[in-house]
Symmetry: D3
Subunit: 316 residues, 6 copies
């Protein structure tokens, strides 16, 4: 059945399974209804049009369904678009699962889980360790499956754990170079800093914002949740709780970026930079992978709309 | 014993009681220690120097002590300064209390309390009513005594309640004019919006910021506390809780002013403006009271450093 | 003949009268000319295409003409569009008037006029009263028919008077709560603040900007006109004139929003907020009316592009 | 009697006449009153202290009086300060006049007046010519004596006319190089652009802002006055009037710099730059005159706080 | 063969030669390949579609080729578009050259060259004169043929020299009016300020940015090149070299506009304004030429998106 | 002779050697000259006043001289100030050297030198290696002695090398974690990025800005110098040279921070963050060292004026 959609070019035909990510109804200029689908497999995404869609089509081809389809890759206003020739829902006998069609972290879930466990063992401050352990236990499944964001960086299955584990590795090395840094605080802060996303984002496969996420945002939600967890663990009033709340609250660095307080503790300041470095490396590596030496990447919206250059000497 | 310090002019002598607000040690150019005191009574504040301070003086003349002193009002670099001739700690027999020396809201505490009670009776939404009632009960004393801020507006005893009650009155009228507004949400939001200041500010008399206040700020602290209160009242998950948290979170209007989310609910938007109007009226009225028609006020830092004009026709 | 265009959905047919708001010529990919029309009735607006338009069509179907047409509501790039089947100009015998096709203030013109009169009677300062009365007399028709803006808020017939009268109601209540406010100055400032729009905007039905409006703007034009009116009334040099000019000049609040001076008089500051509250309530109510509880509105450009949430408990 | 104050150095004695620009009372640490005077002659300014000032001194040594004094130039917190030894009011028999003590434009008043007249003769558009002529006639004395600003640039007697005449010279040359520019519009715009300062500033010698200037500013005041002048000349409705108002309104270039409309006419845009060039040359030349080649000037507040370098090769 | 493309209107047919500026491949909704061409002649530019393009077409119709074509001017989404009926490559026998199809400065190359030579003769400072002469010699061809920018202003053949020569004329006049200005420094700075564009831009006809231009920009490249030239001329360490580098470095005026240092030398400050005036006059004149008196130009992106008004009295 | 000045408190007497960093003349209110000295030893800095300074004193007590003095530490306007009792120039026989009185990096010069050498050995790209080696050779002494800045961070002897070596260590670890990073480019970029400071700053002991530094800044100067070095090494045109220039040019991250181009190469982006982390750790550690757990540091100007908190649990 061939390669994934991410490897097709304009003019290629395609025959295979894909997951419906979004489906929108429209009416064509001839007055007939059609469906605009956003389809994906583990290698990429493509837009598609299903012309002359019947009422039944509208109820059947909905998000999170897998479809078997064949068609041809055309170009429409500068973007690839799949012209569907035939399409049907996948059957149980087809042996395909939703999880086959989503991008995953390049590191296995088990390894990510192991690394988290190791780090918690390494922690010495009992208050921080207990809080972190309680959160890991409470949100075990979410931490290991959620993306770190709905787009831009680590926006894939296990993206959140991948981001955390990469940040922990930087933290370990920075602590070696600057022993003044409180390793436990860095570790705890990194593990907790984005857990509010488990409530801010709607899910693993088709990720949008929850109402709660839109009205409060992951930062204040997590600050609150740390407070409640401390209460449950009868650790109210411990300074570690306050400092962890501050680290989470301030990790976007500036008020205009969503942190009502800027970092006012050394480790909070450094965590902000570790977060930036890992997010940027993730975006840069994936964008540069798509171009050849001597070329510029597409403009990266989340990096101030810059196009990055890949030097020719990278070939050497 | 005469008028308050707020009514003295350069050249006047002063003899009376005042409260020590701040005390700082210094060493004069002749090598001798001195104390710089900030003194206040209910009518105003003044700086004072106690030259040749003894070790004992340093331990005796400390913040929140009342002193009896006489001296002369001089001018030092454009500001009034009291040259102390004699000073002693107030005795129990002097019959003076700290509360005599602090500025108070122009409305009696009992009346403020009554108005709050009335408003809660008026509320119909049971979730909001119960949450508000629980907070009023929990923080009864603080709500009725705290200032609304450490400076700028309503920075006096009962300032917080005064600010709340004034805002409630505006809300009632706006609800009459725009019946689409949810009155209960406005009322509950107004009562709760600044309660985080009870933890952000250090106290009623000598008001500074607590460590918790500096690291988290009153907004995230109050969002958390509403969540915990809802839990205690077994109201977790009620939409009213989320909306109240949002109203508190967004009441500064913009991220750069400390609200990580801007108002996204009608009443949150309007509450932000009610807050601004009452704070500005408080600042403007007090500044304009000090000048004559035809003059400009001093520059008001919290109002973009503007000097306001009092028209001559105000005399007519 | 059925409901207005504002109540149709994609797929519906439509048969009725509408007013042409804009008409633009185009050439289709087949080389034939067509007309893009923006049509409206009292319930809303819709785009329409008249394909294969003749030369005569181009001269006949022009702005401010009423047409009788039938067609079907399709969707084009996410927006509703009327596919015209037949169209003709309305005849005198059809008994339709331009005024039937434009949105109007929800309050009758007579009532708005009455409220203005009442307020002027209530004023005590003779200078302000005379100036306001002179403007009301001079621009009677315009004040009662013009919109308050070409888009965003109160952009309907009598919108200007509706906005003024709503603001006056808020002012009355704020004056009750803060008796320090000069009621006459608030009233006069509110009535005058936007009258420059009578020269800045081109008219009631199809509202665009005049050349004068583009080069000077309604604020400096109105400041000038107050000066000239004072001259005509032989009130030059009265302080009230200067203060009214200042209130008009500063009512946008900041230089970057079009006020070369910020409010420097108490009532000017408060008027700015009354203006904001009434404009925002107008936009919010109309946007929230279109969505169900639990939904967000479309993004509101004039409110920092925010989408507002309508809580579920609004249903209770 | 010696050189002017501008040529004295720390340690020099001074004996001569000066004009009192400001006088402020103070009380010394010994409780005795003193006067802080700002004194000036045509060569510069200096601060002075008159210790042990009597009640009579306070009524006698007031702004705009000329005094004869002797003293010594000391340094106080990095600034020169005159230590007064003796001081008395100037007598009629001393033969000194206020005009001897103020800085004047480097071009004679008669020559400035002549240049203005020449330019008006050169104008061909009758509407603009008549308006300009009417203003020159109305404000003859003010135009030829006022400074262009209270500080920063052309802040000396006849500074306004000097600034206008310099700008007219640039305009003439730019018109030669870019004949598309409408010379009459440039000339008229330049002559009128700052005339509002005649009402915004309090006077020639001790220049502060009038109440009208603070509440409206010179730009809206001048826009209004052009409208009134057009009315008096029965030229209402002529497009030239509108364009001249626009040129004046927009000459600060941006809303945040005080122009509610940016330049939207070619000559308005160019006038804004001519204004900037002449103001900057005035500031730069005067600052660079005070330093030697190879040095930097003091920081110039009105030029973004920059310190400018004077190259060594300027000596060659 | 008729008029240039710049004089055609929608509906006109066109038959003539044009230069291909850009060529992009696409696939139509019917699956067939097409070419989107941007074509130009000396009078303007137009988009065109070549439907059903063969493989050979793709290799033949490439940038900088001249084609002979006939077609019709249609409108597509509000912009003119040429519907190609027939097209072929130009033959040597057609007698057309690339230089016939590009816009040129309104002043002849020879005259521009002469003016530059005159100015160099006029210079007296030997260091600046030698450096300028060396650059003129080194880049003779580029200076006289390059545009001053890839778009916005002077974006035509010889645009760079045209811009330089216009600026030199302004500089001469400003030096006459302000003799304090160092004429040699202004002249040298103007000639050098944009020469870095010879390396930043890819060429005369189809102007894009070089990799070097994207990564360094013309300003740092020129600063470096002045340093190297000084070395070659054995003038290292002369202050004139440093000052010229500063003038080039600072000529964009502010860090956020690309100058890491703001102007800190008088002539650098003035050069910045001369640059602005000439660029703006170039944009304004060309935009205003396209509209009639009483109309506004299209919005000018490089001038803060303003639309400029052409007064009616320009007709008189 | 006792402890260094950094360990004295107000009221202590001091007797020892110090280095004069700055000396300024003044005239006291009694008309007598005095000298304000800024003195330092390896432990800190203090202001001092030498009253009644003779003409000889003014010529003798100048910057970079060592003095022996005794006095008492007083407080003046909230800052410590040394009241000098006796002072004399140090004699050769005193056995003190300038280098004893300046703060030094906490790592020995030899070790810093060794680390640099190791890193260069590790590099594999011959172009980058040769350029780096050439610079190390050319500026050997400066690299190992200069501070990294005149204030804020690494502002001590060998601060530049200390900063480089710390950054190299971070780079090594990040390269381990993200093997996509080009290690040679990171290493070369780090070593070169701030070498322009050798020309921008005046020297090791009393560090101010050179004229060249003020007019060009270290970034453009270093870009130029890399170009010249490449020329000398006959490596002109190698892409590595361009990329290294870009890395240096962009290392401040944004135009408004002094980089006319933002980072457009992956390693340039990461180097910017490594630079920030090391500078911030340096500032944070030194500020936090001065306070006790539970306290806030003084406000750090170069870190957005924040005061940082040192948690109490740091004591555990």
């Amino acid at each position: 059945m061939g390669r994934g959609i991410g490897y097709t070019a304009v003019g290629d035909s395609f025959d295979g399974y894909m997951l419906i990510k979004e489906a929108t109804k429209g009416v064509a200029s001839n007055g007939k209804p059609f469906l605009t689908l956003i389809l994906r497999d583990a290698t990429g995404e493509i837009d598609a049009k299903l012309w002359d869609a019947s009422k039944e089509d509208e109820t059947v081809f909905i998000p999170e369904q897998i479809v078997r389809l064949s068609g041809e890759v055309n170009q429409f206003r500068g973007r690839a678009q799949l012209k569907i020739k035939s399409v049907r829902l996948a059957q149980p006998t087809d042996g395909v699962r939703v999880s086959d069609f989503v991008e995953k972290a390049p590191v296995e879930r088990e390894i990510l889980s192991e690394r988290l466990t190791e780090v918690i063992f390494e922690m010495e401050n009992p208050v921080m360790q207990r809080i972190v352990r309680a959160f890991i236990t409470k949100y075990q499944e979410g931490i290991l499956t959620y993306p770190a964001a709905s787009k831009n960086h680590h926006e894939y299955v296990s993206g959140l754990a991948h981001h955390i584990v990469s940040m922990l590795a930087i933290a370990r090395e920075l602590h070696n170079l600057y022993p003044e840094l409180n390793k436990d605080l860095l570790y705890a802060g990194i593990i907790l800093h984005d857990l509010g996303k488990l409530k801010e984002l709607s899910g693993v496969v088709t990720t949008s914002y929850t109402t709660e996420g839109k009205l409060l945002g992951h930062i204040p939600m997590m600050v609150e949740e740390i407070g409640q967890m401390a209460k449950e663990l009868q650790m109210e009033g411990e300074e570690e709780v306050l400092i962890l709340q501050h680290v989470v609250l301030s990790h976007h660095g500036k008020a205009e970026w969503g942190s009502p307080k800027p970092p006012l503790v050394r480790e909070a300041e450094i965590l902000h930079f570790i977060d930036l470095i890992d997010a940027k490396m993730n975006m840069l590596n994936r964008a540069l992978d798509k171009v050849k030496p001597g070329e510029f990447t597409e403009r990266l919206f989340a990096m101030d709309n810059r196009a990055f250059y890949k030097p020719l000497f990278e070939e050497k």
